[in-house]
Symmetry: C2
Subunit: 82 residues, 2 copies
Amino acid sequence: MATFMDVHSGMTGITEEQLKEAHAADLAIEGDEGVHFEHAWMDPKSGKVFCLSTGPDREAVMRVHERAGHPTSEVYEVPIEV
Amino acid sequence: MATFMDVHSGMTGITEEQLKEAHAADLAIEGDEGVHFEHAWMDPKSGKVFCLSTGPDREAVMRVHERAGHPTSEVYEVPIEV
């Protein structure tokens, strides 16, 4: 199991409610891929969303986000943390 | 007090020890700016580092990173999280 940070861009103006809905959409299907989305942080001004997850590989994280309707190719494996 | 996620790029090949040193350099001076760096995640392959912090504003976060020797202009205020 590895840890990932992924980045979504261009989600300018997204509300807290919409972020919760997007996160819930991930949670609803993440089990299919052995992924778990732990946390998400959002800057509505710039439209950036950062998601922290665990899972088997980058591709699995990408598949969950894509199926949930908010694809991103910017998924980084982050094996080192402090 | 606000929450921030910042992104460093181009730190390819950085080791866990170097990340710890960089984080310690932030912690040593962050109090001057009322900032606290909570956590950092690193992808040594792509050279991306993500730092989660709290502080008064973006500029304070940028000043700490700059004085600690690893400046970035990519600092996002993340008022919404799930």
